[in-house]
């Protein structure tokens, strides 16, 4: 419908242009060249604009195309841009053959109907860990395969802890962590930094504590959820966490940690090289009563958008399988600082680099945000969650009032 209107306008414009130019030979016949690109060319969109064709990733994508007998035309977009680009392309019927998107977006795109599930595209999900695959599963159908996963853990600065007389192995649950923070503050250091901003990043960072208390995303106003929010709020009130966490992104939070004053910093797998440089260690985020808390998974999914020409899926599947399995994906995940999605490959990765131990553990305890069949309800819940966190952190509402308001809004938004 929209395309038609647009075409009509273009036609009018073209006709008018002919009039203006006073040309008599303006033919009405279209050239018909803007149908699908030449056969044998497959389009591939990813959120890695930092890698060009000469990078290892760019070369691997090209090679997997050649192996499947086709040319792959790869385009890297900014992550935040990619969802809307994909929706628009879907609307115009011009989706790429392969779309690599952030995992919580998969359910949104699947809901819009622009993605094929594994029943149609034939992708195999056999060895992929269930908890990571969860982000791509909606109503029993799987809409993509993960390229790998990253997640959150607690980095610590041994120097600051030593000065405060804290043994990091004593940090096992919330109580011992808070006790450690108190000691650090007493010794003149700064406690912990995280990102409590009012975007998806804020929810991402809060989830380990939220889930670590045993709370569920389907019930934001539970007493367990309140305990998690009380924990963060308490840290800010007591000065264990700086006030700036309210507007910290994960990047600015990391910059604070890098200043060397902070004992702990909640951050992601992607900072592990930077952490090594400043001799920081890492532990899994503790749950309220000990053990590793469930952390949210980050990382992208390979998805195969719907095409008019369904014969393309066979080749597309070959390209995706090549990129998402075996040594190829291990190499890619090492460059991207991801943990691989299948347990057997995780062992391989760990054998090659023992320093990944904490991360492999964290990823194994991780949960997909849109998992538990939350699907497109997750974005609605997440927005209310970060709003509640913001209200409590900034003191504009008590944790319990903020969470109650959040649950009410979720209920009214997901009911209709």
């Amino acid at each position: 419908m929209r395309t038609k209107t647009f075409l009509r306008i273009t036609a009018v414009a073209a006709a008018a242009a002919c009039t203006v130019a006073g040309l008599s030979g303006c033919s009405a016949s279209s050239t018909g060249s803007n149908s699908n690109a030449a056969k044998g060319t497959y389009t591939f969109w990813d959120p890695y604009p930092q890698y060009d064709a000469s990078s290892a990733w760019g070369k691997l994508v090209a090679k997997c195309g050649t192996d499947a007998g086709v040319t792959v035309k790869r385009t890297g977009y900014d992550t935040s841009d990619l969802t809307n680009k994909a929706l628009l392309a879907g609307q115009q019927g011009k989706s790429p053959d392969v779309l690599l998107v952030d995992n919580p977006v998969v359910s949104t795109l699947a809901k819009s109907g622009i993605l094929t599930d594994t029943g149609t595209n034939g992708l195999s999900t056999g060895s992929i860990a269930k908890n990571i695959l969860g982000a791509g599963v909606i109503d029993g159908k799987t809409y993509g395969v993960p390229i790998g996963a990253n997640t959150l853990a607690l980095y610590y600065n041994p120097k600051v802890l030593q000065k405060a007389g804290v043994d990091v192995s004593s940090v096992k649950d919330w109580a011992s962590l808070t006790a450690a923070l108190a000691k650090v503050k007493a010794s003149g250091g700064k406690g912990i930094t995280f990102s409590g901003i009012n975007t998806e990043e804020g929810s991402f960072q809060f989830l380990p504590w939220f889930w670590g208390s045993g709370a569920e995303l389907t019930k934001l106003d539970s007493s367990k959820a309140e305990a998690a929010l009380d924990l963060w709020k308490g840290w800010i009130d007591k000065g264990y966490a700086p006030n700036s966490v309210i507007q910290n992104t994960q990047t600015t939070s990391w910059q604070e940690f890098q200043s060397g004053d902070f004992a702990f910093g909640e951050n992601g797998t992607w900072q592990k090289d930077s952490a090594k440089q400043m001799n920081a260690g890492v532990i899994t985020i503790p749950a309220e009563d000990g053990g590793a808390a469930p952390v949210p998974t980050g990382g992208e999914f390979f998805t195969i958008p719907v095409q008019k020409d369904t014969a393309r899926y066979a080749v597309t599947k070959k390209i995706v399988s090549c990129l998402s399995s075996g040594d190829n994906v291990v190499t890619t995940d090492n460059t991207l600082n991801y943990i691989t999605a299948s347990t057997s490959l995780q062992d391989k990765q760990l054998a090659a680099d023992p320093s990944l131990k904490t991360w492999v553990e964290a990823v194994q305890a991780a949960k997909a945000r849109t998992g538990d069949n939350l699907g497109v309800r997750y974005p609605v819940i997440s927005e209310q969650l970060w709003t509640a966190v913001q209200k409590a952190e900034s003191g504009s509402a008590s944790p319990s009032a903020a969470l109650q308001a959040a649950q009410q809004t979720v209920a009214s938004k997901t009911s209709n």
């Binding site: 008018a16 935040s80 507007q247 997750y378 900034s394 504009s396």
Partner: protein
């Protein structure tokens, strides 16, 4: 084509001048000539008309359509979004985010414009009297205008950081103590206002300064001879004569400020807890702020913004007419 029409016209005129009874063929030719002339006129108009339709009218129409239908991600793709009339508008107006967003927008726009204009005018008058180095100083005042918004907003954001910002370091050394500029609901709107005023001063300064140069020097001389003091010269000469320039500055300032997005988004993202959420920020949050875009609501808020700007534009047009009469 032009030669055609001119060559036709005399013959048509001649036919008219001749007997009325014999002019049947000439009459047939005359409308044709007119039509050709008209076509030529349209052809010349076409580029700008097409440009306006493609890049202004069509997007506006789409935006209105988005706000009158119930688009979800599914119907966005399939294109079968049901028509819901003004339901989206109703939903936006009854949304708990709406009243504070309107209030924040009003405060943000009015305070920004008032302070920017007052300071801009004061500086313009100040620089109107040439003095050594005034050119250099004036150039310095233009710096905020030259910086990309992203840079200025990020810099303000760093300066106003609660724990490590230079503003708080200064306040603490002065014994006032830490103010959570960007992280407390009481201060966030003030923080973005300060940044926006700083960015808007050069615009007001430049336009008012050029307006001042249009005022003839003789008027001031005559006023001096009549014994007017500086204050009287400003209120009786400068200010009234600047009225047309003032009107356009205020109108442009209003439209620019109404749509300010970057500064607020970079500094506070509309937070904390919605305390600096203006209509522009809210529209963005609805459309792109979370993983599930709500196009219809976002377009609705966008249309409300356009309507407000339109009303102010009409008020301006009316005022302009009154001034001219």
């Amino acid at each position: 084509m032009t030669t055609d029409t001119t060559s036709l016209r005399p013959s048509a005129a001649r036919a008219d001048a001749g007997a009325e009874t014999t002019s049947a063929p000439a009459r047939a030719r005359r409308p044709r000539a007119q039509r050709r002339a008209q076509l030529t006129a349209w052809a010349f108009l076409a580029p700008v008309a097409i440009y306006l339709v493609l890049f202004y009218a069509y997007p506006l129409y789409k935006n209105v359509e988005l706000s009158l239908r119930q688009y979800t991600v599914t119907s966005f793709i399939s294109g079968d979004a049901p028509f819901v009339g003004l339901k989206n508008f109703q939903a936006v107006f009854t949304n708990p985010t709406f009243p504070p967003a309107i209030w924040h927008t009003a405060v943000f726009v009015l305070v920004s414009i008032a302070v920017q204009f007052a300071l801009g005018l004061a500086l313009a008058v100040f620089f109107h009297n040439r003095f050594p180095l005034s050119g250099l100083l004036r150039a310095l005042f233009l710096v905020p205008w030259l910086l990309p918004l992203l840079v200025s907003a990020s810099t303000w954001s760093w300066m106003m950081n609660s724990d490590s910002g230079i503003v708080n370091a200064f306040l603490e050394s002065a014994g006032i103590g830490q103010i959570n500029w960007l992280t407390s609901p009481t201060w966030s709107l003030i923080a973005v206002l300060v940044a926006n005023i700083w960015i808007g001063i050069p615009f007001n300064l430049v336009i008012m300064y050029s307006g001042l140069q249009g005022i003839p020097e003789e008027l001031y001389e005559a006023a001096s001879l009549d014994g007017a003091n500086g204050w009287q010269r400003f209120w009786r000469i400068t200010f009234p004569l600047l009225r047309p320039v003032t009107a356009i500055t205020l109108l442009l300032g209003f439209v620019y400020t109404l749509k300010v997005f970057d500064i607020i988004w970079i500094m506070t993202k509309g937070g904390p807890a919605g305390s600096s959420t203006t209509l522009a920020i809210w529209a963005y949050q609805l459309g792109f702020g979370n993983l599930l875009p709500d196009f219809s609501s976002a377009a609705t808020v966008g249309n409300v913004l356009i309507l407000v700007a339109l009303v102010v534009g009409l008020v301006y047009a009316r005022m302009q007419r009154r001034l001219e009469v």
